[in-house]
Amino acid sequence: MSGILASDPATHTLTRQRGYWRDLDWILLIAAVGTTIFGSMLVWSASRADMASDSDPQSYLKRHVINVVIGVALGWFASRVDYRWLRAYTPIIYGVSAFLLVLPFVPGLGTTIAGARAWIDLPGGMTLQPSEFAKVAVILMMAVLLSEKRDIESEPRDRDVLMALGAAVLPILIILVQNDTGTVLILGSVALSVIAVSGARTRWVIGLIGGAVVGIVVAIQLGLLKEYQVQRLTSFINPGDDVTSAAYNAHQARIAIGGGGWTGYGLFEGPQTQGKFVPVNESDFIYTVVGEELGFAGSVLLIALLGVILWRAVMIAFRADDMFGRLVATGIVAWLAFQMFENIGMSLGIMPITGIPLPLVSAGGTSMMATWIAVGLLENVRLHAVRAGS
C-alpha cells in the first residue's frame, strides 16, 4: 500500500494530486456543502432579530461565512495530508490539543459561556472552543494506539485498549472540569465506539457500557454534578413544572418546532424565532428555526442531509483498507451521530439540555472548523482505500 505514496513525509505532507478529484466521495462532499449552506440560512434567520438593532445586522452572518470558509480550507488540507504523516504527528496533535484544553482556565484567557468554562478569548471578540478540536485529536490518538503493531485480523491487546482509553479519559476529565457535560457525553460515545470497532474483547465493550451507566448514576447521587447541571439534565422531563430558564428553554423550543406544522411559517417568518423567544437559537437550539420556519418538510430534509453524511461516513469506515482509517471513520461517525442526536433531541425535548452545536449547521466557528476537518479526514481515508484497491 505504501507504494502509492511516493512523497517523503518529512518534506511533503500532501499526497500527489493524481486522481484526487475523481476519487473523492462526491456524495459526502455535496451533502456536507448542502448542510453548511442550509445551516447558514438558519443562522441568518436566527440572528436577524438579535442583530436588528446592530449597526450591521448582517455582521453575525458574515462572521459565520468566514468561519465556513476557514473550515472548508482546513477540511481540504485534512483530506490531502499524507496518511503516514498524519499517523506520525498524531501524538503532537494530541498534545497540542490537550494543552489548548487547559487554556480556558488561565485567568484573562478563558471565558465562561452558559456555565461552561470552555472558551478561549481571541482578539477581535472571537472565541475558540478547544474541546471541539479535542474530539478530532482523541479520535486520531485512539485510532493510532489501537491500530499499531499488530496483525489486522487480531484483536487489540489489553494494554493498547487501556492506553486508548487513557487517551480518551484525559481530555474527558479536563472537559468535565470545564462543566461542558455535552462534550463529555459525546467523547464517551466516541471512545466506546472506537474501542468496540477496533475488535477489542467483548468484555471491554460490556464493561465500558456498564461503567458509563454506573458513573452517571453515581455522579448524580453523590452530587458531583452541580445543581444546575442536574436541572439542565432533568428539566426536559417536566418542562411545565417551573419557569427556571432550562425548563423555559425546552418549553419554548418545543412550541417553536411544534408550531411549524407540515411546511412551517416560512423563512424569517417564525414568530418564536423572530420574537427571540427561543434562546441561543443560532447554535444550541438551531433546530427550532428549521422546525418552526420550514416545518416538518424542512426538518426531514435537514435530518436527511445529515443522514447522508453519516451513511457515507459509515461506508468509508466499512471500506477502509486499514484499521487506522476504519477507526478514524468510526470515531467520526460516532461523534457526528451522537452530537446530532443530542442537539436535535434536546430541541425536541427527548434529550437533556446541554450546550452543544449541531455539526455543520450551528453558528460557532470552532465547531464548524472541527467538523469540516472531520469531513476532510473521511475523504482522506476514502482516498487511501481507493488507491490501495486500484
Binding site: I152, S193, V197, G261, V314, M340, F341
Partner: protein, 716 residues
C-alpha cells in the same frame, strides 16, 4: 478486517439509523400530531417589557459644581403578580405592609389598582404603569423599616424596598437659578400621543418623569439616559414564563453649563438689592432680571429673575395650593428670557447704529433742545433738560432724547412720511432686527419670548388684525359706556374711528418713540444683553447658550458645544466702532457715572447705557442698565433691569457695578483677579472632569486655579 470489527461497525450503523429515525418520528409527533396545540401556544406567546428608568444626569456649573444632583430615597414597591398568587389577592400582605409603613391600608390598596379599572381612583393615586412593573407604594421610607421588610420576605411576598434616585438641588453658594434649571414632572398625554405607536426601547413610558421647563426640558433626552429593559415572555393567561432579555439602564449624561454658581449667586443677590433699592425710593419694584454674557462666545455666565421660587418645591409633586401661590407670585416665568419690556434709552445704541446705516455723520453736531414738536405733539427730553448743540457721543452720554428724535424724524421724512409704503426703508427697525430683536435669541431654554420691533410693517399688520373691531366699535359708539359716561364714549369712538381709517399709518410720533426704545418696541433683558455683547465683540451676534457640553456619567465620553454665531450684525463697522468709543463715556461722564464713582475705571473701563423706560399708566419707569467691560478688551456684557424701578442709574447701576467687582476681584480701588468669584479669574475653557464613579471635579487646565468646589456642597 476482523468479523468482530465488521459486526460492531454494523451495530453502530444500525444505531445511527435508529437515532435518526427517532428524530424524524419525534419531529412528526410534535409538528404534525400535536402541531395545532403548539401553534396555539406560539400565538399566545407574547412579550412584555418592564422598564427601569436610568439615573438622570447631573447638571453642573462651569467649575463642576452640581446645580442639580440626585439623592437616593428608599422606595417600597409591590409586585402585583406575586401578590395575586397569595390567598385573597394578598389582602393580608397589604394589611401587614400598611401597619409597618404606618400608612392607611386603603391608600396602599388604591395605589395598587390599575388606572381605568373598576374602583380605581383617578391618577396620580391609581397605578398608571404596566401590569408587570412593581408598583411603588411608599417613598422616603425609613431605612430600618425597609430592612425589616427585606428581612421578613416570607411575610411580604412581592414587596421590595429599594433605593431610587430623586432630584435634589444642592444650591452651592445658595444659588437659586430656578428658571434656568427647570423642574421635572410626569410625562404628559400630549408627549405620549406625539411619539405615536413606537416600539423604540428608549421611548417615553407612562411612568416616566420628564423635564417640564428649563434645562431639564431642553436637554431631557440626554439627561434621562436609557432605561433598562427586561423583556419577559408571557403566555395567554398573563403568566410570566421566562426572561428573554435583560438590559441594564444607562445613566443620563452630565450637563455642563456655562453658569458659574458663585457668580450666579452674586447676580441673584444684586438683583434683589436693586429691587430693594427701587422699593427704598418708593417705587413698586415689582420684578427684575439680570444677565451676564461672555461676549466672545455668547455663553450665559449668570442669569437671574425676580421674583423666583424654590425649585425643590417640585420634588415629589407640587400641591394645588403651592401651585396657586406660584401663579399669584408671577414667579414661574423668567423675566430674563420670557419677560418683554420697553427697552427705553438702552435702545439708543441701536438707533445710533441705524444712523450710521442711514449715512448720518456719527461725528457731527446735533441740537439737543429740551423738546421738539412733531405734528402738534410735544416730545420732551428727560426732565426737559436742554444741552444745546452736542456731539452724538455726548448725546449718548447724557441720553438726549431730542437728538434721536431729530434723527428719527429725518429718517421718517426721507422714507416718505406718513404715506410711505410698508416696504419703505426703516433703518431703526432694520438695525434692531439685525441686532436680533423681534425674534427669540435661540437660547437653549424652552419658552423664550420674541419681543417686538415697532415698524411700519408691524403697525400695518396690527391694523389688519384689529381694524374690524375698531371700525365696528366706531360704528356702534360704545353704547354700554355711553350710558354711564358719554364723554368717555365719545373719546373712545373718536379714537377707534381714527384707528379704523388710518391706523396702519406709521406716523412721525411712532418713528420718534421707536428711536428711544418706547412705543411698541419690546425686548427681553437677554436680547438686550446679546445686543451689547455684539457691540462689545465688534458686531458678532451670538446665540446665547447655557449648556457647554455633556460628559457621560462615568466620564468616559465628552461632547462640547461650540459657540453659535447668529450673524454679523448688518450695520456699518464704523458705527460699531463709534459705539465702542462712545459708550465708555457714559460711565465716566454721563448717566452711568454715579453708580461707578470710585470704581477703578482706569484699569477696568466700563461701557454702559442707562435706560428709564416709560410704561403706560402712572407706573414708575423701568430701570435699565446695559453694559460691557473691560471696554478696551470686552469680556462680559451685563444687563440688569427692574420694572417700576425708577432710573437705570440709581436702581440697577449700583448692582451692575457690584457684579463687575465680583467678577474682576475689585476691592475698593484695588483689582486682584485672585479675589474674583470666578475660579482662576475667568470662565473655564475646558469642561469639568467626571470621575469613573460619577464624581465631578473642576476642569483641569490653564485657567483652573484654586478650586473650592468642595465647599459648594456634596456631589451626589
Amino acid at each position: 478486517m476482523s468479523e468482530r470489527s465488521n459486526l460492531r461497525l454494523l451495530v453502530l450503523a444500525v444505531l445511527v439509523v435508529s437515532l435518526l429515525g427517532t428524530l424524524v418520528a419525534r419531529s412528526f409527533y410534535l409538528q404534525i400530531m400535536e402541531g395545532a396545540e403548539y401553534r396555539a401556544a406560539a400565538e399566545g406567546n407574547t412579550v412584555r417589557e418592564v422598564a427601569e428608568p436610568a439615573v438622570r444626569g447631573l447638571v453642573l456649573d462651569q467649575a463642576g459644581r452640581p446645580l442639580i444632583s440626585n439623592r437616593t430615597t428608599v422606595v417600597v414597591t409591590v409586585d402585583r403578580q406575586t401578590l395575586a398568587q397569595e390567598p385573597n389577592d394578598g389582602a393580608a400582605v397589604v394589611t401587614r405592609l400598611s401597619r409597618i409603613l404606618e400608612v392607611p391600608r386603603d391608600s396602599i390598596a388604591d395605589r395598587l389598582k390599575t388606572c381605568g379599572t373598576e374602583g380605581a381612583k383617578p391618577p396620580p393615586v391609581c397605578w398608571n404603569g404596566s401590569t408587570y412593573q412593581p408598583v411603588p407604594v411608599a417613598s422616603d421610607v425609613d431605612t430600618q423599616i425597609a430592612l425589616s421588610i427585606m428581612e421578613r420576605r416570607r411575610e411580604f411576598p412581592g414587596v421590595t424596598a429599594k433605593l431610587e434616585a430623586v432630584r435634589q438641588y444642592p444650591a452651592p453658594f445658595n444659588v437659586n437659578a430656578a428658571h434656568i434649571l427647570g423642574y421635572l414632572g410626569p410625562v404628559t398625554e400630549e408627549q405620549l400621543d406625539a411619539q405615536g405607536d413606537t416600539t423604540d426601547p428608549d421611548r417615553l413610558r407612562r411612568t416616566d418623569v420628564v423635564g417640564r421647563t428649563g434645562l431639564e426640558k431642553q436637554y431631557d433626552d440626554q439627561l434621562r439616559g436609557r432605561p433598562g429593559i427586561t423583556t419577559l415572555a408571557v403566555d395567554t393567561a398573563g403568566n410570566v414564563t421566562g426572561t428573554l432579555e435583560e438590559k441594564d439602564p444607562q445613566a443620563g449624561d452630565y450637563l455642563v453649563t456655562s453658569i458659574d454658581a458663585k457668580l450666579q449667586s452674586v447676580v441673584e443677590q444684586q438683583l434683589i438689592n436693586a429691587v430693594r433699592r427701587a422699593q427704598g425710593q418708593g417705587y413698586a419694584g415689582k420684578s427684575g432680571a439680570a444677565v451676564v454674557i461672555e461676549v466672545d462666545t455668547g455663553r450665559v455666565l449668570a442669569m437671574a429673575s425676580y421674583p423666583t421660587y424654590d425649585p425643590s418645591i417640585w420634588i415629589g409633586g407640587v400641591t394645588r395650593k403651592q401651585y396657586q401661590q406660584l401663579i399669584d407670585d408671577e414667579s414661574l416665568s423668567s423675566n430674563a428670557y420670557q419677560g418683554q419690556f420697553a427697552p427705553g434709552s438702552t435702545f439708543k445704541a441701536i438707533s445710533t447704529a441705524a444712523a450710521g446705516l442711514d449715512n448720518f455723520n456719527l461725528y457731527g453736531i446735533y441740537p439737543c433742545p429740551s423738546q421738539v414738536t412733531v405734528g402738534g405733539t410735544v416730545f420732551r427730553n428727560y426732565e426737559s433738560k436742554p444741552y444745546g448743540p452736542i456731539s452724538l457721543t455726548r448725546a449718548l452720554e447724557v441720553s438726549c432724547n431730542t437728538v434721536f428724535y431729530d434723527i428719527a424724524k429725518r429718517m421718517w421724512q426721507k422714507a416718505g412720511g406718513p404715506d410711505a409704503d410698508v416696504t419703505a426703508p426703516d433703518p431703526i427697525a432694520e438695525a434692531a432686527t439685525s441686532f436680533g430683536l423681534g425674534v427669540p435669541t435661540g437660547i437653549d431654554l424652552p419658552g423664550e419670548a420674541a419681543g417686538r420691533v415697532a415698524s411700519r410693517e408691524f403697525k400695518y399688520d396690527n391694523w389688519e388684525a384689529r381694524k374690524d373691531t375698531w371700525c365696528r366699535n366706531a360704528e356702534e359708539g360704545y353704547p354700554e359706556t355711553r350710558k354711564t359716561d358719554p364723554k368717555l364714549a365719545d373719546y373712545y369712538t373718536a379714537l377707534d374711528r381714527e384707528n379704523c381709517t388710518d391706523g396702519y399709518q406709521w406716523r412721525a410720533g411712532d418713528a420718534l418713540n421707536a428711536a428711544i426704545g418706547q412705543g411698541d418696541t419690546t425686548v427681553t433683558p437677554l436680547q438686550m444683553a446679546m445686543v451689547y455683547a455684539a457691540i462689545a465683540n465688534g458686531g458678532t451676534l451670538y446665540q446665547p447658550q447655557v449648556a457647554k457640553g455633556f460628559v457621560s456619567a462615568d466620564g468616559s465620553s465628552v461632547q462640547e458645544f461650540d459657540p453659535v454665531v447668529v450673524r454679523k450684525v448688518e450695520v456699518p463697522k464704523s458705527a460699531i466702532r463709534f459705539l465702542r468709543r462712545s459708550l465708555p463715556g457714559v460711565t465716566t461722564d454721563g448717566s452711568g457715572e454715579t453708580p461707578f464713582l470710585g470704581f477703578p475705571l482706569d484699569r477696568i473701563p466700563v461701557a454702559s447705557k442707562t435706560g428709564s423706560a416709560q410704561v403706560t399708566g402712572d407706573k414708575a419707569s423701568t430701570s435699565w442698565f446695559a453694559s460691557y467691560a473691560p471696554a478696551n478688551d470686552p469680556k462680559y456684557a451685563i444687563v440688569m433691569m427692574v420694572t417700576e424701578g425708577g432710573t437705570g442709574s440709581k436702581t440697577s447701576g449700583p448692582s451692575v457695578r457690584k457684579i463687575y467687582e465680583a467678577i474682576f476681584g475689585v476691592r475698593g480701588t484695588q483689582v486682584n483677579p485672585r479675589d474674583s468669584v470666578l475660579v482662576g479669574g475667568e470662565p473655564q475653557q475646558a469642561l469639568p472632569v467626571v470621575r469613573p464613579d460619577g464624581t465631578p471635579v473642576a476642569p483641569q487646565g490653564r485657567r483652573s486655579g484654586v478650586a473650592d468646589i468642595r465647599a459648594a456642597g456634596s456631589s451626589q
